[in-house]
């Protein structure tokens, strides 16, 4: 029974990490920036969701509110910060690290602003269904209706996203501008707007990850909570394990990470909570420095 519990907890956490990783991959594909502020943006959107829950009382209204809020924030960030960044910091020793530093700064700004507005009070989001485990033959599982719901919702979202990417014109434009911006521009794709769209999609995905991470945890929301540090690191690690460029890679990276953490905590030691992701990441990168699904970078001369 322990084995099944550990597995199901790992899968649920893993899908949330996978969703976070997808949002990082979307940004990476559209602008070649690893957005370290992604978890911060997810935090902010989750606060939007919280405001909606308290005013309107329904989780299912709050979720789209958080997604739209997250998409708007992400789009604004792309239009203001990232475009300026591309214009200004392209030469000198800073060039390689400028996006990393700028998004870290953004993370700090979002965190402190959220803490100024919502910090220091008990902010709580109650999930739409119970988080008490299912009972089978008298034994209670840790797996709950809420976890099942999260699993299903995330899978549906991933499905929608992959259909958008594979079957629609927008998806084609997104893939084209990521792959060859110049050629895409020549073929009439408005690359700048497509980039903004990529960010907006990523913001919405991050918002869902933030909302579910909150209700899947103890329901409380705080800029300094462990849940969000974990979301920051896990989303990134899952994306890197998957190769940063691949959506399927991100999902599998998330699942691998969620399961590994869950099993390490259960069978090795619960004190390894924060160091386990690091060890997993190093192991993967030692075997494949470009991630599981990443293409090997060509040498630039």
């Amino acid at each position: 029974m322990d084995l099944l519990n550990t597995f199901l907890i790992g899968v649920t956490a893993g899908t949330i990490y996978g969703l976070m990783a997808i949002s990082m991959v979307l940004v990476w594909r559209s602008t070649r920036v690893v957005n370290f502020a992604q978890a911060g943006m997810a935090l902010l959107s989750t606060y939007f969701g919280y405001e909606a829950v308290t005013r309107l009382g329904s989780f299912w209204i709050a979720l789209p509110v958080a997604m739209i809020g997250g998409a708007l924030v992400a789009a604004l960030v792309e239009m203001i910060l990232i475009r300026l960044l591309v214009k200004h910091s392209t030469s000198g020793p800073i060039a390689g690290v400028a996006p990393i530093i700028a998004t870290l700064g953004l993370l700090g700004v979002i965190r402190s602003v959220s803490a100024m507005i919502w910090g220091g009070q008990d902010v709580r989001i109650v999930g739409p269904v119970s988080n008490d485990g299912f009972t089978i033959n008298g034994t209670t599982l840790v797996f709950s209706p809420l976890k099942l719901l999260i699993l299903v919702t995330v899978l549906v979202l991933m499905l929608i996203l992959s259909i958008v990417f594979q079957k629609t014109n927008i998806g084609l434009a997104l893939r084209a501008s990521a792959h060859a911006p110049e050629i895409a521009r020549l073929s009439g794709v408005k690359v700048d707007w497509v980039r903004t769209l990529g960010w907006a999609l990523s913001g919405a995905a991050g918002a869902v990850a933030g909302m579910f991470q909150t209700v899947n945890g103890n329901g409380t929301l705080s800029p300094d909570s462990i849940e969000f540090s974990l979301l920051l690191v896990s989303g990134f690690i899952a994306a890197v394990i998957g190769g940063l460029d691949s959506m399927i890679g991100a999902v599998i990276g998330g699942l691998v990470l969620g399961l590994m953490i869950s099993f390490v905590l259960m069978y090795v030691s619960s004190g390894l909570f924060f160091i386990a992701p690091f060890v997993i990441l190093l192991t993967v990168l030692f075997i494949r420095p470009q991630g599981l699904f990443g293409a090997k970078a060509a040498r630039r001369a």
Partner: protein
């Protein structure tokens, strides 16, 4: 060359003398802040060496500082080594950690490296809870002892901290400056400029990168030990992710390639909480705003610097002057 070197030595000694007199004139709080600034100068210059010169990003220097701090504290508590040796132990332990991390880092680039070191910054300090010798959440005491009596009756503890940290800062700046001016410094710059070209001219890329990481980590370890000296204890909570971020912020504010600018970044990092405090009081804002204003200011400053003064104030000024001169001709 020789003349320049003796001028530099003179400047360093002069700096030491100025600091000596300054520490006698200001009050206790300022002396304490001075010690903190000195610690930051060391930590930031370790980032400048790593990121500005060898082109590798580290978000995990807070963790390396923790390694140094714990090593020094264990050396002090368990083996009661003399204090100077504790600092040496701190440097060595962190350098070993840095060499291991560097071996991994040499295979990674850009965002991959940043993420790996980020995971380390979050993971490593919490590992201290796993070993009872490291004192768990409470941590270890790290006591460098009272200042020697020969310095006089009214020589305070903070002043003693300031002296130790200041001396360490001067010495490590001196060492880093020489390393950067040496063959290794030039090698790193070549790698940062163009890895393939550097490789073609016979540079062993992996080895140079690992060396940069090792040296940088050793310096960070020293800074960590000094930081815990000023706090008096070593515990996981003294090395949060925010520390690693603020070091990077400090390095960017200083200018990633201007070692002498490390002072700018450190002063800003120490001054911002004070400024934020004044501003918040002036505005009469709530406690929520007051506690988060420093973080906001630091982050906002970081973004503005990256956007508008990407290579640091000193470098920017130099570039402007060069442009001006070129126009005159």
């Amino acid at each position: 060359m020789h003349k320049k070197q003796s001028r530099d030595i003179f400047l360093f000694i002069l700096g030491g003398v100025v600091l000596y007199f300054l520490s006698g004139m200001v009050d206790e709080l300022r002396v304490y802040q001075g010690a903190t600034i000195a610690v930051y100068v060391i930590a930031i210059s370790s980032i400048i060496l790593l990121t500005g010169y060898s082109g590798q990003v580290s978000l995990g220097h807070g963790a390396l500082m923790a390694v140094g701090a714990y090593a020094a504290a264990v050396a002090r508590v368990e083996f009661s080594l003399p204090i100077v040796l504790c600092f040496v132990v701190a440097v060595l332990a962190a350098a070993i950690g840095g060499a291991l991390l560097g071996a991994a880092a040499a295979r990674l680039s850009g965002p991959y490296l940043a993420g790996t070191t980020l995971a380390l910054a979050i993971g490593l300090p919490s590992l201290a809870n796993q070993f009872s010798v490291l004192g768990g959440e409470q941590g270890l005491l790290f006591d460098v002892g009272f200042p020697p009596l020969s310095l006089g009756e009214d020589f305070t503890q903070y002043k003693w901290f300031f002296w130790i940290a200041g001396l360490a800062a001067l010495l490590s700046m001196w060492a880093i400056k020489n390393i950067l001016g040496s063959r290794y410094g030039r090698t790193w710059r070549a790698i940062r400029g163009n890895e393939v070209a550097a490789q073609l001219s016979g540079i062993n890329i992996a080895r140079s990168k690992i060396l940069a990481f090792t040296i940088s980590a050793g310096i960070a370890g020293l800074a960590g030990a000094l930081l815990s000296m000023t706090i008096g204890t070593v515990s996981p909570s003294a090395f949060p992710l925010a520390l690693s971020f603020s070091l990077l912020t400090g390095a960017v504010l200083s200018g990633l390639t201007t070692l002498g600018g490390a002072m700018i970044g450190s002063v800003v990092l120490v001054a911002i909480p004070e400024i934020a405090d004044v501003v918040a009081h002036r505005l009469g804002s709530s406690e929520r705003v007051t506690t988060n204003l420093p973080g906001f200011l630091v982050s906002a400053l970081l973004i503005l610097t990256v956007l508008f003064v990407p290579n640091g104030p000193v470098e920017q000024h130099r570039a402007r002057k060069a442009k001006h001169l070129a126009q005159k001709k």
